[in-house]
Symmetry: C2
Amino acid sequence: MENNIIQKLIDEKKYFEIRKYLNDLNIVEVSELLNQFESSELIMIFRLLSKNRAADVFSYLDSEHQEMIIKTMTDVETKNIFDELYFDDIVDIIEEMPSNVVKKILKNTDAKDRHTINLLLKYPDNSAGSIMTTEYMDLKKDMTASSAIFKIRDVMEDMANVYTCYVIDEGRRLEGVISLKELITSKDDEPIQDIMNKNVISVHVNDDQEKVAEIIKKYNLIVLPVTDDENRLLGIITIDDVMDVVEQEATEDFHRMAGISPVEESYLKTSAFTMARQRISWLIVLMISATFTGRIISKYEDVLQSVVILSSFIPMLMDTGGNAGAQSSTIVVRALALGEVDTKDTFKILKKEFLISFIVAVVLAAINFLRIITLTKTPLNVAMTVSVTLIFVVIISKIIGAFLPVIAKTFKMDPAIMAGPLITTILDALTLTIYFRFATMFLSNVIK
Amino acid sequence: MENNIIQKLIDEKKYFEIRKYLNDLNIVEVSELLNQFESSELIMIFRLLSKNRAADVFSYLDSEHQEMIIKTMTDVETKNIFDELYFDDIVDIIEEMPSNVVKKILKNTDAKDRHTINLLLKYPDNSAGSIMTTEYMDLKKDMTASSAIFKIRDVMEDMANVYTCYVIDEGRRLEGVISLKELITSKDDEPIQDIMNKNVISVHVNDDQEKVAEIIKKYNLIVLPVTDDENRLLGIITIDDVMDVVEQEATEDFHRMAGISPVEESYLKTSAFTMARQRISWLIVLMISATFTGRIISKYEDVLQSVVILSSFIPMLMDTGGNAGAQSSTIVVRALALGEVDTKDTFKILKKEFLISFIVAVVLAAINFLRIITLTKTPLNVAMTVSVTLIFVVIISKIIGAFLPVIAKTFKMDPAIMAGPLITTILDALTLTIYFRFATMFLSNVIK
């Protein structure tokens, strides 16, 4: 829609109108629009943006479009844009660019900024340091409320967040926090140290981003300060970045639970070949594991030959066991991810899953037994064998399904790996073993 | 740990020290501590809190602890607390309380507030209205920047967010938005209408909370205004509430994909009986569906009798098909949830999945074929049958796995329902049908 309007205006060379049209749009909408254009037209439209909007729009563009723009921009233009961007955005952009573009970006940055960028780039992936930015508002405790507000007014344009200010000493050590709201309602000559909150919640620069998300959620924060070993303030993390973390972590769990290696790019942007690679390793592992399940069937071939009808219950038993186990593992993986339970709750979890599985197993077995004897001509002893197997399979599946993620967490592995296909494969083998054991026990008289 | 300290102080009747200890803690930490005490001690500690902290602490308590406190509080105490709470929190609390407690709460609220509460309670679950609050900062466009700041200072104590102010006309229709940052940096006599942003992003009160989350994320907002059909401002939604929505929606998808009905409470708080109920319905449906898969095996009993070894490949084929399909459905469900793809991308998705599945299928079949002929004594024609089946099964599973969620979305159903166990059951039946068809085709000479 919108790109048609712009295309028409380009064709008619009505540049003034394009400019006017773009100025009425929200920055995010302008970037969405630009993402639909290619090279030369993209640059043309981008140059029509007012200077103060250009950097904002730029930060929302796809990395390939950002690359095209940087490549065609002059050094001065590049500098103008990167001077306006926050450091966390610059770092995100740099991480996506080829080395010649990175060089051009760094060449057009002040030595001091370049130092900050290099520092931020060094923090390990998924650490607090890797998602923080350094444009925080700092105050000194001997300032008065009015002098603080004066300082804030002066520098607020460059700050990522001015509504939460941090009080630091001469060594940049974090001493307190105060909101702009508190400053505005304080008396003009009130010293900051009397109104600031000394109990500051912060994270260490090496803390995992999952911990950052947990703390932001737990304390209902909009901004969280990041400090080093000496409690020196290094940066801040804002809640919108944490929202990305929360979604990213959930996506990782979804993918792991389906046996897919972590995917960085979005679906449509990842090539089919890359995607195939991300999916195939687990499929190979699981395919080979499943052949062991097949061996169990081969081993009991004589049982199946004697009581042929037994084989028709195999899919039902395998599926029900797998599903029962997947339910428990999913519930536990998610509860662990949300912090609702922890490894110290292992006993409580197992007790609860045992109770749940007992209720579920008995109901399922009853329904199954009734269905078999009323709707099919299956002999009673076979119906019994299948139903008793079902009870054991459901209970064992649920306990194992709940236990494996907790075990994984105890050994500092990702619990999500223990849910989904891996558990199904393990449970398949278990189910068949239980089934054939019971069959040989209960049906010994008919088995040759 | 902390509750031991408090318990000791209680036993020693050192109330002043408890008070001092609690005052040094963060509000969230105080509420965590209180959640560990029961009735009489809980009330005792809660009464030691300073008046301005009591309401905040109260809003973070478990609903059962909130209930205990309300039940023992006097009318005046109840009123003091509820006067301090934001309406969205009051509504959340009321929804969890038994009717006698709700009566007590409403009795101790002003007629005007009661009206607002009743209005908020009426919005459907998961709508923007159900998560918004009404304590927003509104301004008029003919105010000057300094008179606006004056008004803000005056009422900010009661506002959920004062950093984003909304400009409304006499009919409360939304005309613009302006941040406190912009107000502070403006000239004192600058009229609001000259500095406000007229392009306000808002949601309708009946919009789904998922849409709210999408918009907050897309436009990087901290606060989002909620309006009615006439564009009248009704309330605001803050990003911390949206974070809960994002997690809740992801949890729902996790549970649906494992065949579990939505669970409202956290894991340890839900009874085993409730949990069993939430899990059993899908297990029954899937157990019965799986019997159809069993019938396919019965139908081809003669084939299995003739070439007994065929049965040992059944688990591997079923599992691989299921896993391949689950990968695709999970990827597509998550991409749909994150807005990376939409139903209009159906063709692109199917094309991509076809390519991926082709690569994956060929590699898996090759590995499988080599494994069978080198490690087992399986006849060549059986190895061929299994491998060709594998190729078809993987391709079809991936295409169906990707297609069903998109179809669900097209018909306004939750795509997550189409992933997980349901798809596995469908694919199991398909896999066996394909397998036996190929077996009868390729092995006709050996089948009696």
